[in-house]
Structures are given as C-alpha cells and as structure tokens.
Symmetry: C3
Subunit: 340 residues, 3 copies
C-alpha cells in the first residue's frame, strides 16, 4: 500500500462501485458486492487488493499474484490464478488508473499544502535547523539536526530530511525520504508525480503515482534537476551519488551507490542503474533497462538496451567506446573517399 | 495588436518620431508627420500600422499586406503594394524591433509585479480557489473555481487560469490564457519572453515579444519545463497534451491536440506540431517546421525538415525509423569489417 | 585568494594541522610547524599558500609555481621547484579538497542566508530599485539604480548587480558580479557550486568552489538556465551574450562577447568560448576545450576537441558542416544499397 505519510487512502469499496468508475461493465453480478481496500502491483497485492497486467513482460508475476481481482487483457486472461478474479478488458491500465483514483482521490494535489503557516505545527524540526524566509514545511514533515532550509524552499507533507542537509533556494521536495548530508541545489524538484497516464481518447487519464523518492546519505543534486516519485515502487538514489544540474530522473528509476551523472542526463522510467556508474553530459537512457555496475557512458550516449558488463560505452545506439570510435573513423574514411 | 491584458501600448506616434528611434534616415519629408498607432505582422497590419519583411519566405504576405508602412530590404522593395509606404533598409528586423519598443516600452518587465500585496485587489478568484504562502497573483488576473495555487507560485498581470487547475510550487505564469484541469509542475515557466533579438553590433536589440501562451484543457506540464510566449502570434498548446519535465517550447510553437512530449525535448521557434504527435526523450526539432498528425519520434531524434506523413522516425537527421535502423546496421557491419 | 565578499577564510594553519585533515602522513617533521594562510591554484599561489598538481596538462604551471607547498603525484614530484615543498601523494586532488575545506569551512552553505529580514540591512539598493514580494537580498549585496527584482528572487550575500537589470520571478543569484542591463529569466540559477569532487571511496569529497560568476553588460539569460560559479578561477559571460532557456554552463567556463546559445545547450567545465560564437539547440561541448571566435555549431552538435578556426560545424563528433553533410549522405547511400 502507498505510504500513509504521503497518501490518504479512501475505501474500502465494493467492486461494483469501483467498476462504475471505469468503462468496464462485464463482471458477474455475484462479485459486485465484494469489498476491496486498495490497489497494488501484482507482486505485492493481497486478497483484498485490485491489480492489473498490462505489459506481457510481467506475465510471470501475474501467474503468481495473490490479488483478489485483476484487470487483464483477453490474451492473458487464461493465465489468471484460480484465487484471483479476472476482470477482462481491452484497457487494463486505464481501468487500473480509474480505480486507483477512487482509492487515492487527493493524490494529484497532495503536494500542495495550502492554508498553512510557513512551518506546519505538526512538523518536527531537529536542533539547529535553520529555516529562511518564505520556506514552507508541511504537516508531519521531519527535518534532522543541523539541516539548513534556504529561502522559498518547499518541503511537503510527511517528507523526512536527515541531518546536516542543505536545501538551497526555491528547491521543492514532496513524497520523499532523504538521508544525511544531502545537498539539494537551487530549483531542484523532488517527488512530483511522474509521467504516467493511460490513453482514454480523446485524451489521457493520469495514473496515480503512489510511490516515493528515497535518497541515501551524502548525495549531491545540482540546480534545477528533477527526480519524479515512483509510480508504485519507489524512485531510489543510492548513497554518495553525485548528480549535476538539469538532470531528469523518471519514476521508478533506481541508482546504485556512488553514481556520477553530469548535466542534462536523462534516465527514463523504471531503469535500474548499478553502483559507480558514470554518465557524461546529455546522456539519455531509455526506460525499463538495466545498467551494470561500473559502466561509464561518454557524453551524448543514447542507451537503448541493457548494458550487462562494466566498461565504457559511447554513441547512439550505445556500443563499447572502442567500437564507436571505429564506426566514426569508418564513416569519415568513406565520406572522404566519396568527396574526392 | 497585442493583447491589452498583458501589454500597454503607447502612441500614436508620427513616423518621424518612430524613425528617430531607428538607424534609418531615408524617408521623404512628406511622410514624416503621418501617424501610426501600432506595429503588426504583415498579415494583420492595417493602414495605421508599421510592419516588416525580413525573411523572403514571407514575400507573398508582403505583396498582400495592408500595412501603412513596412521596413523592407532593398532586394524585396519592388514588391511593395501601392498603398504601403516602403521604408527601405538593410536591417528591417532591427528597425522593427526599435519601433516596436517605442509602442511597447514596458514589455520587457511587464511580468514583474512589484509593490503588490500577494494577491492584487483587482484579481478575480473563483470559488474554492486555494492560494498558499508566498504566491503572488497580479492585477486583473483571473483564477477559476477550484484551482489550487501552491506556495511561491507567481501568476502575472492579466493571466487567465481555468477551473480545477493545479499550479505546483514555485511555478511562474505570465502572458498566458490557460484552460480547465491543467496541471503545472513545480518550477514550470510559462509566458516569459522568447529568444528574439536583432543584431545591432556590437550587440543585439531585443525584439518585443507581443504574443501570449494559450493552453487548452486537460494539459499536464512537468517540472521545470519552459514555454515562451509568442513573438507576435501566440504559442499554443492543444487540449490533452502531456508534457514531461525540463522540456523547452520556444515562441510561436503550436502543439495540436493530445501530443506527448517526454523529458528534455526541445522544439524551436515557430514550428507547428500536429495532433497526437509523440516525442521521446531528448528529441530536438528545428524551427519553422511542420510535423504531421500522428508522427512518433524515437528518443534523441533530431528533426531538421518537415515531416509530412504520420509514422515513426528516428536518428539525426530524422528518417523513417526503419531506414535509421538500416543505417545503424550498415555502419556497424562496415566498421566490423574494417576492424578485422 | 577567494573573494572575501563571498567566502570567509579561516587560518592561518600549521602544515601539521592541515595534513591532519587529509589522509597524508609523510611530511618531514621539520615542516609541520610551517604556517600557511590559503589555498591557491598553481599560477597564483604565493609562498604562504598550498596548491596541487593533479592533471599533467598543467605541468608547466607546476614547474613555475611559487606555492609554498604543493600536493603532487609521485610521477611529477621530480619537477617541483626548489622553493616549493612537495607533498607527494597518490591523491593530490583529494588532499587539496580536504585542505581547502579547512580554510573555507562554510563554503558549502554560504549561499543560504537565514534568519534574515527579506532585505538585509547592510545591502545597498540604488535609486528606483523595485523589490517584489518574497524576494530576499543578502548581507552587503549591491543592487544598482533602476533594477527590478521580481517575487521570490534570491540575491545572495555580497552579490553585485548593475543598473537597469531585471531579475525575473524565482531566479537565484549567489557568488556573482553582474553588469548593467542584464535580464535574468524566471528560475535562473547563477553562482551555485559547480560539479567538483574528489573520489574518496566509498564516496566523494566536495572540492570547495572558490570562484565567482562574472557577467558583463547587456546579457540575457533564459528561464531555468544554470551557471555554476568557478572552482577557483571565475566563470565568465561576456557583454551582449544571449543565452536561452535550460542551458547548462559549468564552472570556469568563459564565454566571450556576443555569444548566442540556444535552448538546452550544455558547456562542460573550464571550456573557453571565443567571441560571437553561436550554438544551436541541444549542442554539447566537452570540458577543457577552446572554441575560436566566430564558430557556429548546428543543433545537437557534440564538440570533443578544440575548434581553432571560425566556421560552421555539425555532427558528433563535430566536423565542418560540409563534411558532416557528406557523412550523412554517404551513410544514406550505403544503407539504401544494402536495403536493396
């Protein structure tokens, strides 16, 4: 279930009431009174939860789920476990989004703390915490000893910040658990909703983003960098990571320990990055990939597949840097030949 | 004429006074007392307006303009309509910039509302509008029912925001008309002046940016994304567009309905994007292009020409994605051959 | 020495006390009482300063340094001048970082002005300076006549801003000296610490960033752009530069006069850019390079070597644009041939 520090869950609801929020109308009447108390990913769902299978990549998790009910595409429905009620629909992700919005209706604005004094009375500030002009600290947030909060910073409801951190001017942090000695640059954006939506022509339905951002100790994050919270799992940044300015880290990304990301790097959703990975400026990494420990990526590299071995890579699509150099030299030679 | 919600026009001025602001000195004395009340693009200009022709691409608009006077390069002057006074100069864009600054002298700082209370008395707030700490709302701005304005947001003079919108922390909005159910991420910048200047050695003269940003309904815009206002025409974002973090949208860009732009995409000035166009991360699109409905661009694609057919494109310069894959495979094969 | 407007230096310290902060333990006892009063780069260091040689590129500066002591790798130690005490260590950059932190312990938070009123009493504001809601101006800062400071801007301690500047909403400026008629877009970040750290497994040690950002006259900087302060030397932006949105300029970068940088450009640390250089959108330039006057870079160009001649370049790695077009055409032809 979503962390109650950040998300207020409603319910339980009868299946019939849940389905009334979706476009789905095909469940046997006998099931409509059954009560559900939450939405959950396949692997964590219990008998009172509703889940979904959208991407066939997760079929094995579907076969072993303990979810009480599951939105599923007709093509995969036959694999539904016997204790799970299949709700067969051509748009399982949309139905899940609509159901999740019933349980978590306030999700999309929960980072906005209005009608507050600058520091909410229920916020807990450690010794020697300094809070500058115009900073706002939300309900039940915790800020550790010796941390400095610069002017116009926003710390959202329930956020936990460790000791001896520095939050520079106009940074915003919501839905996050942050370690000690973390340095957030000016204009950093942490914990906002990720880029998650289900098509629902003519538009899209936002999929409630129910995870968090979890940041370790001794992390530095540069100016105007954005780190979205997880969609269900958490976005994670390991100890000692050094992240430069204007970097984009999407929902569910996991960075291991000691990674170094130069300016304007972008990592797409759900990619897992190992330990001590180095990415030079303007690198882009596609989503749902795995990058091994000790990988180094040259500037502007575009990664479109898993990189399972440490070493240095370059080019787009990314290849070992030696191969990239040979490609560049080969093309230069052929072009010169043609030019003559 | 520029929207008076956002721009205070001065004048009318005699042509002689206008030209005294420019480096131009060659108009017949008989014309110097003629009065002009505004600057305008060729296609909208009336007999009391001054316009300019800089880019030969717009020659046909010049031939049909109803402008009272027009700055024009010697090479195009012969095409001037008989009712339009040609003001022949080697630097028509510079002369226009200098003239426009006479009519709109406050343009460059109009988004700064100083000496205000947090919410200007003339601002109109609908029912259930929530305004958090440190947010500022300028003169004559309108905020629709149920909209939430988080801490340290700035809504400039005359801005119109629809119903049930969410403006997250530290977002800034000026010179904009925004629909209903729009979600602006933290640190979003909407409506600032675009990147427009005329060379005037040793430096440049800012060209007053007299357009707006017009955003439809049900649009989501991610953290720290920047959308500049139009230079004369408006920058437009259609209904249902989903825009991720750290995206750049330049002046005069038009996005159709339901477009999806992933993080760190950049679209240069005056490009027109059709409906349901999808751009993956770090895509770049050059200026003054047209992208057809239904185009999908793979990550890091660089678009340098019009894309007139729907379909998926990749690479730089962009080609149909199948062709791009063949190019990648071809080069890999040649490089391997060379390496052996 | 670091500018005392921005940095509070401690000391002097005995060499023994300095080395106790590092991992180094091999200096002759006779030197341990010697007093040092600052850290400094090789070329500026005096007999009472400690310096370091890390990158062999700077060997000639090492041979001529007047530093009293110098951290140096065993391989270069033999080149140490006779008046300089070599402190031979396998990690000279780390030892320097640790020493510098002793002299400048507050460096990492000096841009945070807490417990202030919005405008510090020691700040000096010229005539007709306008300061909007929620803006903060630090101790001893100076803001010139006619400058406008929009809502929620932060001007740090000691910053100097010239006349008739505009600082738009939520911009932050620290450790900077700025000229006249400079326009800073909303969310601009100027003067934060650069991306400088020495490996110290399992993590990294921040290298105190002791330089400034120095900006000339008539400069425009777009929304959410980041310009880091120098590491020791200054980051410099020449007169008349026009910088668009979401641009990254790293520590020690020097831009000459009249440069034009389009959106999402990134320039890595210590690169020197000449006069009237133009970079189109999403260009990336590696660190420690030199770009000649009058160079133009096409969109998405990646520069990995010095460009010593003016002209237009494109591609990655960057080549003269004509060569790049031939490369693109050559590969297209070969791919089509293969496809048949």
């Amino acid at each position: 279930m979503a962390d109650p520090r950040f998300f207020d869950r409603q319910g339980p609801f009868a299946l019939g009431d849940i389905l009334a929020r979706t476009e789905f109308r095909g469940v046997p009447d006998a099931s409509l009174d059954r009560q559900f108390d939450d939405v959950a990913p396949l692997e964590n769902a219990s008998a009172s939860n509703i889940s979904f299978l959208d991407n066939p990549k997760y079929l094995s998790a579907f076969k072993e789920t303990r979810a009480g009910a599951c939105f599923v595409d007709p093509a995969q429905a036959e694999h539904c476990p016997s204790d799970t009620l299949p709700i067969v629909t051509a748009a399982p992700y949309l139905a899940f989004a609509q159901s999740a919005a019933l349980f978590y209706p306030g999700e999309t604005t929960s980072e906005v703390d209005v009608d507050d004094p600058n520091v909410y009375p229920t916020a807990k500030l450690g010794k020697n915490v300094k809070v500058s002009q115009g900073a706002t600290i939300g309900a039940h947030a915790e800020v550790g000893e010796g941390t400095t909060v610069a002017s116009n910073v926003h710390i959202g409801r329930g956020v936990v910040i460790g000791r001896n951190c520095t939050l520079r001017n106009s940074a915003t942090v919501t839905h996050a658990i942050i370690g000690d000695r973390v340095d957030l640059g000016p204009g950093v954006r942490i914990g906002q909703q990720g880029f998650g939506f289900a098509p629902n022509p003519p538009g899209y339905v936002a999929v409630p983003q129910l995870g968090r951002v979890v940041i370790g100790n001794d992390v530095k994050i540069g100016a105007n960098t954005a780190i979205d919270r997880g969609a269900g799992p958490d976005t994670q940044i390991g100890d000692h990571c050094q992240i430069d300015n204007l970097v984009q880290i999407a929902h569910n990304v996991v960075l291991g320990q000691g990674c170094v990301l130069a300016a304007q790097v972008g990592i797409s959703g759900s990619t897992k990055v190992g330990n001590y990975v180095v990415m030079a400026g303007q690198v882009g990494v596609a989503g749902h990939l795995t990058i091994a420990d000790g990988v180094t990526l040259a500037g502007k590299t575009g990664v479109t597949r898993d990189l399972t071995k440490s070493g240095t890579y370059g080019g787009f699509p990314a290849v070992p840097v030696r191969d990239w150099r040979i490609k560049v030299a080969t093309l230069s030679r052929l072009a010169r030949k043609r030019d003559r």
